[in-house]
């Protein structure tokens, strides 16, 4: 029996998924009856744009796309000194393996996202905003477009919203379906109609962004939290969570667990509780043993069971930015985008890593040489090892390649490709060596 069974289950504060099971929530009427768009009424009447930014700063909301940068601070960087238009862009290009939380909001609760877009646009002084959505999510695009039409029809978008004097046009733009377009500068390039290649920073989008104008790009989940913050106040939001990880976080849990799905957790929840309690993942399938977890989408370091449940210091690992990163990349990982991939003891780490490497090789934009060449090289070496054709030298070579990609690329895709490889070899080296010695996967029959 697992020790987790004695852990008390606490209900998380529901901010993003509160009404998600209400039938017809995607329609304006149902959403409005449940209190939707009240934050827009309240904010446009009582707050100046700078006060909205200050409120978001005070709330401690951090970007939920993966990097975890404080949202209010990001808004604060926007260049308001120019007469150029400013743009607010929603990053709905979710496509990382293991991460599937944003589409849930877009599909079931699009008006919450639109409400957040109005608030963010107002704070930044944007008159035109965009929701950039991954092309494959065409059914979600249709839902959002319908919701935008309804918001226009009811006076929440368009000219002189609610008689406040503030006007906003909102468009939903599908992308071509490249993972790299989730990187904010590549997203901006793609939105401009160009090939989705990341730009070299600086200048940052807050200074030179869409159409060379000041731009803020935020994730769907980040934007969807804004209505609650403006309705309930920054203090109420920052009272949820722990340390510098405030509020709630959507976690898309998948892999060898009994209850895969999307969960809204209060930041600071123990990882052990998240994996084993019936309220969340419900434990490992078939009563198997936990082997490893990728906690924040495929781009973060993988951790073995002993390090995901407890830090190297022996403290319980919590679902928070700080706790998951405790120990650096030697013994820690990242909260990332919240794609929680659980692996039991039937999992071949090499094969799993090969899947990730194939993905990053396929999705590299090809602009900079370490990422363009290194991701493909790593995939080929992993394929050799998995097929039983690898050598001991290949294992060190993998580490060397990942080390030379990390930090040397234009955008973080190179890091995203390198970290899983480096961490997998660090924590599961024996498994790689067994592949080489046996000339086959030790877990294959």
């Amino acid at each position: 029996m697992f020790a987790h069974q004695s852990i008390p289950v606490t209900m998380a504060q529901q901010i993003l998924l509160n009404n998600i099971k209400v039938p017809g929530l995607a329609s304006f009427d149902v959403y409005r009856k449940l209190g939707g768009y009240t934050s827009v009424e309240k904010t446009l009447k009582n707050f100046t744009p700078d006060e909205v930014t200050a409120e978001v700063k005070k709330s401690g909301l951090r970007g939920r796309g993966g990097a975890g940068f404080p949202a209010g601070m990001k808004w604060g960087f926007i260049d308001k000194s120019t007469n150029n238009p400013r743009y607010f862009v929603c990053n709905f290009d979710e496509s990382e393996p293991g991460t599937f939380k944003d589409r849930h909001i877009g599909q079931l609760n699009p008006h919450q996202l639109i409400e957040g877009m109005i608030l963010g646009s107002y704070a930044l002084g944007a008159r035109t905003s965009y929701i950039y959505i991954r092309g494959e999510l065409f059914y979600v695009l249709r839902i959002i477009e319908k919701a935008i039409e309804e918001a226009y029809a009811n006076g929440f978008l368009g000219e002189n919203i609610l008689g406040s004097g503030y006007s906003l046009d909102l468009y939903c733009q599908p992308g071509g379906g490249a993972y790299i377009c989730g990187e904010e500068t590549a997203l901006i390039e793609s939105l401009e109609g160009k090939r989705g290649n990341p730009r070299i920073k600086p200048p940052f989008p807050a200074i030179v962004g869409l159409y060379d104008c000041p731009t803020v790009v935020n994730n769907v989940e980040t934007i969807s939290a804004l209505p609650w913050i403006m309705n309930n106040g920054a203090d109420a939001y920052s009272a949820i969570g722990i340390a510098n990880s405030k509020g709630t976080k959507l976690i898309s849990a998948c892999g060898h667990i009994n209850k895969p799905g999307i969960y809204e957790i209060e930041l600071g929840l123990p990882v052990e509780e998240f994996i084993y309690s019936d309220q969340y993942c419900g434990g490992i399938r078939n009563g198997n043993k936990l082997k490893a977890v990728v906690a924040g989408g495929s781009s973060v370091p993988i951790l073995p069971a002993e390090l995901i449940l407890k830090t190297a210091k022996g403290e319980p690992r919590l679902m928070s930015y700080e706790s998951l990163a405790e120990g650096g990349f030697e013994t820690g990982t990242m909260l990332g985008s919240g794609g929680f991939i659980v692996m039991d003891d039937t999992t071949c780490i090499v094969k799993n890593l090969l899947t990730f490497a194939r993905f990053y090789h396929h999705e590299s934009c090809g602009q900079c040489s370490p990422c363009r060449e290194g991701t493909g090289w790593m995939e080929k070496i992993l394929q050799r090892i998995e097929d039983g054709r690898g050598t001991m030298k290949d294992i060190d070579l993998l580490v060397g390649i990942s080390k030379h990609i990390e930090g040397n690329t234009i955008c973080p895709l190179g890091d995203a490709a390198a970290w899983p490889v480096a961490s997998a070899v660090r924590h599961f080296r024996q498994e790689f060596e067994d592949h080489v010695k046996l000339q086959r996967c030790p877990l294959s029959k």
């Binding site: 396929h362 090809g366 363009r372 060449e373 040397n408 234009i410």
Partner: protein
Amino acid sequence: MSLVKVTIDNIEVEVESGTTILNAARKIGGAVVPPTMCYYSKLEGSGGKCRSCLVKVAQGSTKDPRPMPKLVASCRTAVMDGMVVQNITSPEVMENRRAITEFLLLNHPLDCPVCDQAGECHLQDLSYEHGLVDTETVEERRTFAPIDIGDKIKLHMNRCILCYRCVMVADQLTDQRVHGVLGRGDHSEISTHITKAIDNDFSGNMIDVCPVGALTDKTFRFKSRVWFTKPFDAHRDCPKCSGKVVLWKKGDEILRVTGRKDKYGELEDFICNDCRFEHKENTDWTIEGPRKIERHSVISQNHYEKISKPEIQDNNS
């Protein structure tokens, strides 16, 4: 424009504010200048892609002396007053440059013995200075059939390192651009749009800016190794361009015409296709004299110059 002081490999230099680390290093010259495979000062927006010019910023500025956490692309990073940069004095930079060289060579055929760019190839130089003796890869390189992308230009995609310089030339110098980058990652390739050929007046400059032998001049291919030719500065009255070129002659025969390049391998002026491809007679040109070639270049073979011996200083006296 205000001046700022920057120290590169322990050498201090004063440059205008907004200057990149690379150009500050070029002001010093010599070994402290980072190599560049994609940056080209004459092409707007170039640089930052090959990563061979990465350097370490050991001190951000006088105001904020914190070091930068990662290596930075010197061609795209502006200097700050009091910045301290390490290039050849940083083992980390040297190790990374070696790794970058290996990445660049990963899909590049070592066909220097038959490549028309041999002797003028920046990757060859980079490999010689920073590469490994042995390769660590056993994987097959990607292969493409050579194709004509216009009546005067041959594309050997096998050799391309995707520096994007030729795309920028096409974008910035010519109208009706018909070629670009297709595909992603290491499947990327330079290609013309379907059935299109490059026949713009300035398209030949794509050959000059290519750092490797991916784009070659069909009027010169396999005519001679470059070090067996003699370069001369020459000019003509041209209504389209400056008309200032280098003639590459073998005996009295003009085998090739190119633009004039500076010591960093960058064109001083872009020249038109008429000058480059259509004027191969001596009577077409006013010859100014032999082209000065850097002594370290293989092209300087057979072009010996009399060197005055420096006086030996006796420090003991």
